[in-house]
Each structure stands twice: as structure tokens, then as C-alpha cells.
């Protein structure tokens, strides 16, 4: 993971991100949804903003929560539920999104974005912070 630091991109100030909710950041040409689970552990997750079901850029506006402990986001359009650890849709196995590691440093939020989406699949899905 050491040389991966090169790919950490700043997504904004910590204060811009709502507690227990999601927002969207634009990194390069990509729209990435960033979620903060403050309630229990203060863990951050990030995934593609585009829901693969109908290719709509809305996942950042979905409600987050857990399904038997697995952190998830539910798409606001048709309630497809995606694991934020694996990116897999747990309500409809045919779909998945890319997930990205998130890191906090000096009050700023960083997301690790890779050059191609196919790289993303081989990266560790979760990055605990603090």
C-alpha cells in the first residue's frame, strides 16, 4: 500500500461531509459517493456515484445503513442495496459498483482513485481510519 499513496486524492474538508449520510465528490472525471458512518465507529466508505441498474448518478443520495452488520447504501431510485465493503448488490446479485478506500488526514478527506475501473477490483475494499 505504500506507493499507493500517490493515488490518494483530496475530496474536501471533513466538515463538508454529513454525519451518517452520503455526498458526491468529483475527482477528475469521476463522480464518487462518499459516506460517513459516524454513529457507531466513525468509518468512511466510498463507491461509484452511478448506480449500475439504470446508469443514474444518484447513489450519493441514497440512505446508508447496515444489513446484518454489513455497511450498505440503498439506491434512491429502485432501492438496490449495495455493500460498501465489497461493492456487490445484495438485493440483486447481477450488479456491483467499484468501492474506494477513504482516509482522513489533518481535517481533509482523501479517496484512493485508480486509473482504470478494472484496477479497482483488486484493491482492498475497506480502509479503516483512525
Amino acid at each position: 500500500m505504500n506507493n499507493a499513496n500517490l493515488n490518494w486524492m483530496r475530496a474536501g474538508a471533513e466538515a463538508d461531509f454529513p454525519r451518517d449520510g452520503g455526498v458526491v465528490v468529483k475527482l477528475g472525471n469521476r463522480q464518487i459517493a462518499v459516506y460517513r458512518f459516524e454513529n457507531e465507529t466513525d468509518t468512511w466508505y466510498a463507491c461509484d456515484n452511478v448506480c449500475p441498474h439504470q446508469n443514474e448518478a444518484v447513489l450519493g443520495r441514497g440512505i446508508i445503513g447496515d444489513k446484518k452488520g454489513e455497511p450498505v447504501v440503498a439506491c434512491p431510485m429502485h432501492k438496490k442495496v449495495f455493500s460498501l465493503k465489497s461493492g456487490n448488490c445484495i438485493s440483486d446479485a447481477g450488479y456491483s459498483v467499484n468501492v474506494y478506500p477513504v482516509q482522513l488526514k489533518d481535517g481533509s478527506v482523501f479517496v484512493m482513485v485508480h486509473e482504470t475501473a478494472s484496477n479497482a477490483e483488486s484493491l482492498p475494499a475497506e480502509q479503516k481510519v483512525r
Binding site: 483530496r10 475530496a11 474536501g12 463538508d16 461531509f17 454529513p18 454525519r19 451518517d20 449520510g21 452520503g22 455526498v23 458526491v24 465528490v25 468529483k26 475527482l27 463522480q31 462518499v34 458512518f37 454513529n39 457507531e40 452511478v50 439504470q54 446508469n55 443514474e56 448518478a57 444518484v58 443520495r61 441514497g62 440512505i63 446508508i64 445503513g65 447496515d66 444489513k67 446484518k68 452488520g69 455497511p71 450498505v72 440503498a74 434512491p76 431510485m77 432501492k79 442495496v81 440483486d92 446479485a93 447481477g94
Partner: protein, 824 residues
């Protein structure tokens, strides 16, 4: 040494056979399936289009097979059998020895020798690969013809409709499903099918499929030409017996591998089951008899004496969304006395054939409503003696008192599950429907008995003194009503407080909006205080639409609007390039706004005196009205003024689901008040108050709560009614559904609302006063708060707008462009 059992074919029946045999300890099972998928649910193939995925159809879990030591070879065909050497050779050329061979080769679709049948665009409807190929092809097509109007043909027609195609069904017989239903039943089915836009050609024969390489049409022998780009053939099935034939097994003249009552073929080491088997001259094309054959064969292999002696062809299906069932002796004879119920209005046809003495049910046909199928087939198979007024009992639906089922009654015919088995499983602690089905196998075949399984579950739980699981979700072990009490008594004000008081985990998309709604109904605080627990519509105070844009509906109370305000709406729509449409609730919808535009749009609307219309909330939407006695020469009361009064009073109040209302100025009912959650109709003396009506998917007329009452009394009753509904309904339950589940129905409601039988009316009125007093226009709050406005940004790290939102134009206005690469 273990006996080697080889199963040829891995369809539904083979899967069932393996399940049955896998508990035997002295066998080693190898199964060959020529498709690349393990066994899947072919009966519900058309549900592929509901999810656009085959995952939900899969029956067999390769991991579970491996665990039991079963060798599963998918994508491998068996090419030959040597019965003397007891070996088979697969499509890879490998030879395998067997002790017992089971042929579950199924059937192939029968393709009549039509000229043009080999053209591109001609499909059969049998496998997942078939439907995938159809789906891919359908993207370039606009219409399809289905050849065959039987069970499979209608399933294929549903698939065709689901693919968005203009659909024709061509049937040679003069009616649909000639093997299952009579002429009248067919005519009801035809009505329903036509109403879906399917074009039926009965008594029609196909002459030729036209086209060069690809299909461009179908010519009927009558001379009629249908212009279609796709043809789906489902003209029946043929048993796959070629493998059996080539190794010398006895096969029937018209196909099918001959078997005895133990499912043994002419070679005692070889069995045949399912659609490939010919039993006493009969090939069964249904899954239930196939499952019985599987059980018989498995039993024979372990030395049992179970026999297959023919099978009742009762079946209950949903075809193209229409219930169709046929059971026992569906057509009757000279001796039987039919009771026929035919309701053209609702499209329900029932025919029940009674014995000559009228005391036994011999069979029947149900079209349009097969909810009583499970019960009726019980009467037939158990030979239950019917009560005197059999017709009321059989046709009166759920309101009639059904005799209790015997414990031995077979609930699930596909899997031979008795009522006793289900009750025993529930009593032993299996109290969740999904788990119960998995454990007992009931309801996992055709699914027709699922409502009965669920009913037995609930009844048994009730008998055991347990409550039926109505928990909100995994985070809250409470019903919605319990949560209302907890929140109000403990004065909880945020989702987080509620979660720490009585929940667990972090919540989810079910409990967060449900709790948010209860909080809003309890305190009527600004819902954006807790914006991340709201559904997107309530989080952004607008309705999300295709492509992720939002629509804006300003409140227009009672549908009354001045020219000045109309002009403002027009100006705003023009400035922000919004698509305009008049809604069904006498309002104006402005669509296609980006999230970042919403505060600016609302600022301009609020400056002109508009308020939020709460079209995005589970809240009062609109109170529709006619022009009433002010303008109308028939009007007896001022419906417009009363509608405005009602809308102003209840606007913004959050409820378990949306609330719609209307006020009509006379008995002509132009405002359609009887289709609303609450509605008023003027009389000479005052108003008639109706409640719990609904349009939508399941239309229901409202019921009369009180007659000839004054405006003030109507408001008092409405205050009580609305709060009572808010307190007691489950989440996302409209008043009509809530009403249907109220024990005591309208009498109960009248006694609570009018006679105050529960002594809660003062409390209900106080709660409404609090809600009315705390009302604030949410959009006004947002527009005047820079912090709230800042939440309406597409990205937190840049002021760029979302470039994925694109529009096309149609009839002079914009519409969402199809997303790039959408549709899978």
C-alpha cells in the same frame, strides 16, 4: 461399495430427484446437465424480465451439491448409452460406468414445419439462454408474434410484453388454454389479455414466416398479414427420447420413454422421470407430476414401494398477470351440476362442478381470481362434505366462513406437504415464512399454495399465543404503532435518539424514513434537521425522476389559481427550462430541475406567494375540487372554499403514506371524492364524509363515515380520523389498506371517531392542533437559510454541475435522454 447413480439432465425434476436420493448413504451420484446453468426454475422463466437476471431462478446450489459429494457436470451432454456394459459416454468423449441410470432429459419445444422457421428472429421459449437471446434481439424489434396460446405461449407473451414489444398471440384452437379451461373461462382470459394490449388471433393458422434473412412478418392462412420482427414458437413440447431410443429402450409411438409405476424403463437399471417419461400412455408437461415421479424413482432405488399411478392435473398460475386455475374435473359432465359466477366488470370467472347431490366439489375453473384455489382443491381431493349453502361458501370469497382444513390435507401439491407438516414446523419454532418454506418445501414448486402457507403460519402462531412478526426491520424489534408510542411518550426528537432508545445497529433504508415520518407526525419539526435519514425526496424536498433530476410542484390549494400566479409559474418554467405538465390533482408539475437549481427556483416561487406542495412527502398532497355552488348551476355547497380550508389545515402533515382528498359540490361528484383517502360530497343539508378510498393499483371506493354534517363537524372528524390513521397504520400503508385490516371495519371506525368509544378523541384533536400550529413551509425555511441551501450541491468539492444529466426534446419540451450504456 457404493452404487453409482448417473442422472442425465439437470432440470427441475432432476434436481428434485437428487434432493430426494441424496440422503441415501449407499449411492454416489453424478449428474450431467447440458446447459451451462445448474437446475433452475423453468416454470417462472418470464420472471427473468422482472429483475433482468437469472440469479433468482436458480434452484440448485453447486456448493451444496459438492458438500453432499454429488458430482455436478454442467455444460456437458450425454451422447450415448451402452445398457449392456452399463456405461455412458459424454460430449467430451469420456466414458462413465453406472449401476443405475436416470433419464431426466425433459422435452424440446415442438417447432412445426413452417416455411421461414429458420430465419433470424425466430425463437423458442424454453431455457435461460432462449430468453437472454430474445432479450438481446428485442432491443432492435418493436413487435412479436407468439405462435401457440397455451400455457407456455401465454408465458412467452408476458415475456414479450415485458420486453416492451407489441405482442400478437396466434392460437389454432378457437380458445385459449383449451386443455385447462372452458369457452367462457377462455373468453374472460381473452378480455384481460386484450386489455393489456396483446392482440389475439384465435382459430388462426400460420401459413408462413416472411422475411429475407430476418423475420419481417407472419402470414396467416386466412390471408391476414402481421407485421412483426420477432416470432416466438411455443406450440407444445416433445419428450426428448432420442438417447433412450438409440440404446434400444422402449419408447412410445408419439414419443416418450415408456415407464412402469416405479418409473423403470424397459431396462430395469434405467429409470426415466419428468417430461421425457411416458406413463400409461401419458406424457406430463407439468412440474408437479414430475416431482412425484422423482420421489417415486428415488424411493424405488432405495428399495421402497412407492408407486406413480397417474396425476391430477390441477394447476394454478398467473398468466400475463391474470390468475388462471383449473382443478379436478374442470369441464364436468352430464351428472355434475355447475355453479357459475361470471363478473364481466371485474373480470372474474369461476366454475365449480358439484356432484349431483350438491354436497361434493368435483373440480372447477377460476379465471381472474384464484385466491381460493388452495381451499377449493382441498375440498375436491379430500372429498369434503360441503355445507348446505355451497354456492355462498364457494363464491363468496373470504367473507364466507370456510370449514377448517383437516391436518392431513395436502397443502403443497408439488411437494406433497400436508397441513400437519407445516403446523408442526411452526410449532417447533420455524416462524418466518421464508424459512418455513425452505424447511418444509411447501410453496417452493409452482408457488400457488404460498398464500395458504402464510395463512397457516399466521393462524398457527395465533393459536400458539404468539404474535405475528410485524417488526419494522432488523434494527427495531417493534411495530410502527409501538414506535409511535415510544417516541411520543419518551419525547424522542431524532433518529439517533430513537435508535439508542430502542434499536440496534445503524439503521437502514426501511427504518430511517419510517422513524423520520413518525417524528414528523409527532412534532412537525423541520424534516431537514435530520436530512440524512430521509428518503431522497424528503431530503431534497422534491420528487426524484428518471436520470436523477427533480420535479417541483407548488401548492395550489383546491386547484384555484390567479392569472398572476399562473404567469409566474410559466416564467419560472421558462427561465429554468422545465418540462410542464398538469397533474391529476389540479396542480402544475415542473420537471427536469437539477438539484442545485431547486433553491433558486423555490426562491422565485416563494417571492410570488407560493408554498411547498409536499408532492415529495408522505403527506397530504392535494384537495381536488369542482367549482361548486359559486359557478355551477347544479352545485349545492361551495366546494372550492371548503377544499381550500381543508388543504390549508392539513398541508405538510406527515403520515404513514401519502394522503389525497377531494371535495365535490353536489351528488354528481365531479371531484371524485370517493376515490380519495378522505373526501366530501355536498348535500342539501351539509356534507357527506367519505374515508379510505383509493385509486392507484387497487382501486377501492371510499366508505361513508358520516352524513349531512356541518363543515366544522367534518373538520373535527377529519382531525380525529387522520391522527388515528397516523398512529395505527403500518409504514407505507394507504388508508384503504389500513381500513381493510381494521377489525370491525367501518363500524369500528365510526365508534372510535364519532362515538369516542376508546376515549381518545380529545387526545387526537390535541395532536392535530399541535401539528397545525407547528406548520412551516419547508422550502421557505431552506430558501432563507444559507446553511440549508448549501446542501443542494451536486458535488461537495466543486461548483460544477452534473454533466451526466442530459435531455432530448419532444413536442417542444425537454425529456430525460436515455442514459449512456443503460439497459444492461
Amino acid at each position: 461399495m457404493k452404487r453409482k447413480v448417473i442422472v442425465v439432465g439437470h432440470g427441475m425434476v432432476a434436481h428434485r430427484f437428487i434432493e430426494k436420493l441424496s440422503s441415501a448413504t449407499d449411492v454416489e451420484i453424478t449428474v450431467f446437465g447440458e446447459e451451462k446453468y445448474p437446475a433452475y426454475d423453468r416454470v417462472h422463466l418470464s420472471s427473468f424480465f422482472d429483475t433482468n437476471s437469472h440469479e433468482g431462478l436458480l434452484l440448485a446450489d453447486p456448493a451444496a451439491y459438492a458438500e453432499k459429494g454429488i458430482q455436478l457436470k454442467t455444460g456437458v451432454r450425454v451422447d450415448s448409452i451402452d445398457p449392456a456394459a452399463r456405461t455412458i459416454v459424454d460430449s467430451n468423449g469420456t466414458s462413465y460406468p453406472y449401476d443405475i441410470l436416470v433419464l431426466a432429459t425433459g422435452s424440446t419445444p415442438f417447432v412445426p414445419p413452417l416455411p421461414g422457421r429458420q430465419k433470424t428472429g425466430v425463437f423458442v421459449y424454453r431455457t435461460i439462454d432462449d430468453v437472454m437471446a430474445m432479450r438481446d434481439f428485442s432491443k432492435k424489434a418493436t413487435s412479436a408474434a407468439v405462435i401457440g396460446g397455451g400455457l407456455l405461449g401465454l408465458e412467452a407473451a408476458k415475456a414479450s410484453l415485458d420486453m416492451g414489444l407489441k405482442t400478437h398471440v396466434i392460437e389454432f384452437a378457437p380458445r385459449l388454454m383449451p386443455r385447462q379451461i372452458d369457452e367462457d373461462g377462455s373468453s374472460f382470459l381473452c378480455d384481460k389479455i386484450k386489455s393489456l394490449g396483446i392482440e389475439l388471433h384465435l382459430g388462426a393458422e400460420v401459413g408462413e414466416i416472411h422475411g429475407d434473412d430476418s423475420v419481417c412478418g407472419v402470414g396467416l392462412k386466412s390471408g391476414e398479414q402481421l407485421s412483426v420482427e420477432m416470432v416466438i414458437i411455443s406450440a407444445g413440447i416433445r419428450p426428448r427420447d432420442d438417447l433412450a431410443k438409440s440404446c434400444g429402450l422402449t419408447v412410445g409411438e408419439r414419443g416418450g420413454i415408456a415407464v412402469d409405476d416405479s418409473m423403470r424403463t424397459s431396462d430395469p437399471n434405467i429409470f426415466a422421470i419428468g417430461e421425457a417419461a411416458l406413463h400409461r400412455g401419458f406424457v406430463y408437461g407439468l412440474v408437479a407430476p414430475g416431482y412425484e415421479m422423482a420421489a417415486v424413482a428415488a424411493d424405488a432405488i432405495v428399495g421402497g414401494e412407492r408407486q406413480f399411478t397417474g396425476y391430477d392435473l390441477s394447476t394454478s398460475l398467473k398468466l400475463v398477470g391474470v390468475d388462471v386455475a383449473s382443478f379436478g374435473d374442470p369441464f364436468g359432465n352430464k351428472e355434475t351440476k355447475p355453479i357459475v359466477f361470471a363478473d364481466r366488470y371485474s373480470g372474474v370467472y369461476k366454475r365449480l362442478n358439484l356432484s349431483a347431490d350438491g354436497r361434493r366439489l368435483l373440480g372447477g375453473i377460476l379465471v381472474g381470481d384464484a385466491s381460493d384455489y388452495g381451499m377449493l382443491t382441498q375440498f375436491t381431493s379430500a372429498g369434503t362434505v360441503l355445507p348446505e349453502d355451497a354456492s355462498a361458501l364457494l363464491l363468496g370469497g373470504k367473507s364466507a366462513k370456510m370449514p377448517e382444513l383437516a391436518g392431513t390435507a395436502e397443502i403443497c401439491k408439488c411437494n406433497n406437504v400436508s397441513k400437519d407438516t407445516i403446523v408442526a414446523a411452526v410449532t417447533a419454532g420455524c416462524t418466518e415464512l421464508g424459512a418455513l418454506k425452505k424447511q418444509t418445501c411447501a410453496g417452493t414448486g409452482c408457488g400457488g399454495c404460498s398464500p395458504m402457507v402464510s395463512e397457516i403460519l399466521n393462524k398457527t402462531l395465533k393459536d400458539l399465543g404468539q404474535t405475528v412478526d410485524m417488526r419494522l426491520c432488523e434494527h427495531f424489534p417493534h411495530t410502527r404503532q409501538e414506535l409511535v408510542h415510544i417516541i411520543q411518550i419518551r419525547q424522542l426528537k431524532s433518529f439517533r435518539e430513537v435508535l439508542s432508545a430502542c434499536g440496534q445497529g445503524v439503521g437502514c433504508e426501511i427504518c430511517k424514513p419510517a422513524v423520520a415520518s413518525i417524528l414528523a407526525s409527532s412534532w412537525n419539526d423541520l424534516i431537514l434537521r435530520d436530512d440524512v435519514v430521509q428518503d431522497t425526496n424528503d431530503r431534497f424536498l422534491a420528487n426524484i425522476q428518471k436520470g436523477g433530476t427533480y420535479s417541483v410542484i407548488p401548492r395550489i390549494p383546491g386547484g384555484e389559481i390567479t392569472p398572476e400566479r399562473l404567469i409566474v409559474i410559466g416564467q419560472v418554467a421558462k427561465k429554468y427550462n422545465l418540462y410542464c405538465k398538469i397533474t391529476g390533482g389540479q396542480r402544475i408539475d415542473l420537471l427536469g430541475a437539477r438539484v442545485d437549481q431547486l433553491p433558486q427556483i423555490w426562491e422565485e416561487l416563494i417571492d410570488a406567494g407560493f408554498e411547498s406542495g409536499h408532492a415529495y412527502g408522505k403527506a397530504l398532497r392535494t384537495v381536488k375540487s369542482c367549482v361548486g355552488s359559486t359557478w355551477c348551476r347544479f352545485g349545492v355547497q361551495d366546494s372550492t372554499s371548503f377544499a381550500i380550508r381543508i388543504e390549508e389545515r392539513y398541508k405538510g402533515i406527515r403520515a404513514p403514506h401519502k394522503l389525497k382528498s377531494a371535495v365535490s359540490g353536489c351528488i354528481r361528484e365531479c371531484a371524485e371524492a370517493q376515490s380519495k383517502d378522505f373526501g366530501l360530497i355536498a348535500t342539501e343539508k351539509g356534507w357527506n364524509l367519505y374515508v379510505c378510498g383509493n385509486g392507484g393499483a387497487r382501486p377501492q371506493h371510499a366508505v361513508l363515515l358520516a352524513s349531512d354534517i356541518s363543515e366544522d363537524l367534518a373538520i373535527k372528524y377529519l382531525d380525529r380520523f387522520i391522527v388515528y390513521y397516523i398512529r395505527t397504520a403500518e409504514r407505507l400503508t394507504r388508508t384503504s389498506v389500513w381500513f381493510n385490516s381494521l377489525e370491525g371495519g367501518i363500524d369500528h371506525l365510526r365508534s372510535v371517531i364519532i362515538d369516542d368509544s376508546l376515549g381518545i378523541c380529545a387526545e387526537l384533536e390535541q395532536q392535530m392542533e399541535l401539528l397545525v400550529k407547528n406548520y412551516k413551509c419547508e422550502w421557505n425555511e431552506v430558501v432563507s437559510s444559507p446553511a440549508l441551501r448549501a446542501r443542494f450541491r451536486p458535488f461537495v468539492n466543486t461548483d460544477e454541475t452534473d454533466e451526466t444529466i442530459r435531455f432530448e426534446y419532444e413536442r417542444g419540451q425537454k425529456k430525460p435522454a436515455e442514459p449512456v450504456g443503460a439497459g444492461v
